[in-house]
């Protein structure tokens, strides 16, 4: 059987798992079967990855010719994202599998696996309208997940998420209509061929409309103030926050890359600046948080900003570094959220300032957590160091220093986070034995931690394997980065100890909440600036 014929099943299988789990949830054996099927799903995902390394795998659904049908195409990038999605959902599935029977959990698992199918669909499809439909479905699924605990705060957050997303997707659909009017095709490859022959001036309106909606999906500036809050304030469910931060936001970045390719890389300088500003704002907002999930969610924004910078540097190594950073970030951010879930369960609080002495209380989880932290800050021999090394490759002059400063900010954020490991507990702590399904959960966080180390040591080979780009890492250059890293760590520790720990000026930012109207205004302003920028510089 050809792998291309299996492509639609990559979307259907998780949906079937979801339905199967929903119908027969009460039987424990069903959950084991579902996890086994999800684990077995890794095999076709791996096969797809290997096949895509040789040539693009594509199928036209419904057997229509050429650009008439809906084309599912797995090039290497899509195959990597599919593999990553299957892996992350397997980890989350194992992590949540053994919690006690609970009627509400049935819908929860159904939605989680449904989301997996939708995300895989988003990565595989090349049809503009399909993207619209899948994003709308994912919006509804995520909205229900956000409202899951039915507390009024989460329901409000869910409604904000839903309404803002409807507005931006209407902008997308409008831009798409304009694009269809100009090009006459609904397929990415077809559109990019037609667009290459067109004047950039004509594309200003569709580009601005579509990219504004995609940028808000990646929670780029000015949308940063609300998305992390909405994404992470989901009651007690850390797993949803992990999926949102680890994977869902990456779907936005993926669409960003695809659309930049379609439009022939116009507006790169604009998004370079937006990426830098987003990263800086993400770091500052992360530093101002005391809630453990919010700190992690804002740090995601900073990393997404960094990824967007790498993608827009117009340099092969930086692009590949960014792509590798997406994979790495998914791994360590999911690990961080899952570890934080365990720790906050033991301490019965989500406030970082109240958690102390976690290393003594739960050494194994703490070790996995520290590995993930070393990954995200770019410590030598960990995966983050390799991706960041290549990411800054194309940057020179002031931009290189700005990126180093952003990384210093990330280190500072995680110095703040790491304070939970030291000292003596301030509150009553639950016994470690009370953790549910201890072995599974530890296994998952250790597997993710192990991946961080493996991808760190074999980073160059991994980049070649995943993105088919041979890169070379010079010993001198890497040593220089190690030097910068250690200097940054020293500065970060000193800064935290003598400046941030004693002052609370950043906590004022904590209360920064934009209303729905202001979010829409900021989206409108973003759109207007992008439109003017394209009109002036490419007109």
């Amino acid at each position: 059987m050809m792998i291309s014929q299996l492509l639609p099943f990559f979307v259907i299988t998780p949906v079937l798992i979801a339905v199967f789990l929903y119908v027969f949830f009460s039987l424990k054996i069903v959950r084991i079967i579902a996890i086994t099927v999800q684990a077995a799903f890794m095999i076709p995902a791996g096969w797809l990855l290997m096949s895509a390394r040789e040539t693009d795998v594509l199928v036209s659904v419904g057997d229509y010719d050429g650009l008439l049908g809906i084309i599912l195409r797995a090039d290497l990038l899509a195959a990597v994202f599919v593999f990553l999605t299957v892996f992350i959902f397997l980890m989350v599935g194992i992590y949540t599998y053994q919690t006690p029977y609970d009627r509400t959990k049935r819908l929860y698992l159904f939605l989680i696996f449904l989301l997996e199918g939708v995300l895989i669909g988003l990565f595989l499809t090349r049809d503009f309208f399909n993207i619209f439909v899948l994003v709308e479905v994912s919006t509804v699924v995520v909205t229900i997940l956000l409202m899951y605990d039915r507390t009024r705060r989460n329901m409000f957050a869910g409604m904000m998420f839903l309404m803002v997303n409807i507005v931006v997707m209407q902008m997308y659909l409008f831009g798409l209509g304009y694009l269809y009017m100009l090009t006459g095709v609904m397929d990415m490859e077809g559109a990019s061929v037609v667009i290459a022959t067109m004047d950039s001036n004509q594309l200003a309106l569709p580009y601005a409309l579509i990219m504004t909606s995609i940028a808000s999906k990646c929670s780029l500036l000015p949308m940063i103030t609300w998305l992390p809050k909405v994404n992470s304030l989901t009651g007690s469910r850390f797993t949803i926050a992990a999926i949102m931060s680890g994977l869902h936001i990456k779907a936005g970045v993926y669409l960003f890359m695809r659309f930049q390719d379609v439009f022939g890389d116009i507006g790169m300088d604009f998004f370079l600046v937006i990426g830098v500003v987003t990263a800086v704002a993400g770091v500052i907002l992360a530093l101002s948080q005391t809630e453990i999930r919010l700190l992690l969610a804002y740090s995601t924004i900073a990393q997404v900003g960094l990824i967007i910078v790498g993608l827009n540097l117009d340099y092969e190594y930086s692009r590949v570094g960014s792509l590798f950073h997406i994979v790495n970030h998914s791994l360590f951010k999911v690990a961080l959220f899952l570890c934080a879930s365990q720790i906050s369960y033991l301490y019965q609080t989500k406030n970082i300032q109240k958690i102390r002495g976690a290393f003594k209380q739960t050494p194994l989880i703490a070790v996995a957590n520290i590995i993930a932290i070393l990954g995200i800050v770019g410590a030598p021999l960990f995966n983050g160091s390799i991706s960041k090394y290549f990411l800054v490759y194309g940057a020179d002059g002031p931009l290189e220093w700005i990126i180093i400063l952003i990384n210093l900010g990330t280190i500072l954020v995680f110095v703040k986070y790491a304070t939970i490991f030291f000292g003596k507990p301030l509150t009553k702590v639950r016994e470690e034995e009370t953790l549910v399904s201890d072995t599974n959960r530890r296994g998952v966080v250790f597997a993710l931690g192990a991946m961080c180390i493996v991808l760190g040591i074999g980073g160059v080979q991994a980049i070649y394997f995943l993105f088919d780009v041979p890169v070379t890492l010079t010993f001198g250059g890497y040593m220089e980065k190690i030097g910068i890293f250690f200097v940054s760590v020293i500065i970060a520790v000193l800064l935290y100890k003598y400046v941030l720990a004693k002052r609370t000026f950043l906590s004022k930012l904590n209360g920064l909440n934009l209303s729905f109207q202001k979010i829409c205004v900021s989206i409108g302003i973003f759109f207007a600036i992008l439109l003017v920028y394209i009109g002036v510089f490419y007109g």
Binding site: F129, E136, M147, R152, M155, F174, N351, Q517
Partner: protein
Amino acid sequence: MIGYIGGIHVLEIFPIILFFISFFGIITSRNIVKSIVCIILMQTAVILFWLGLGARISNLPPIFEYGTYIDDPSMIADPLPQALMLTAIIIGVAVTAINITVLNALFRKYKTVEWEPMQAQAFEDEKPEM
């Protein structure tokens, strides 16, 4: 050219104006019900724009008996936007239904459908635990 004003087709102008009016409505509405109505208006604008696309050159229905010979295919309206908009309408209805259901649930919890008081109460809940 017929149907063009200042180089822009009339079928474009009206939806674009409607789109931005509804966007203005979203920005200025203090009431969530009004915001939802504005979003529906926005969806209508987009759907109108798309339908206009298919009928720019001609609006001959794209339905024929099997085997009919077509002299000039460009005289037939483009069926793709119509088919896609059918899907978009369905999605729009579903999403609006969810939106109104959620608003109903929120009204029971907050006793208001105004953005400001609801948001103030929600952010009050959001304050980190002491």
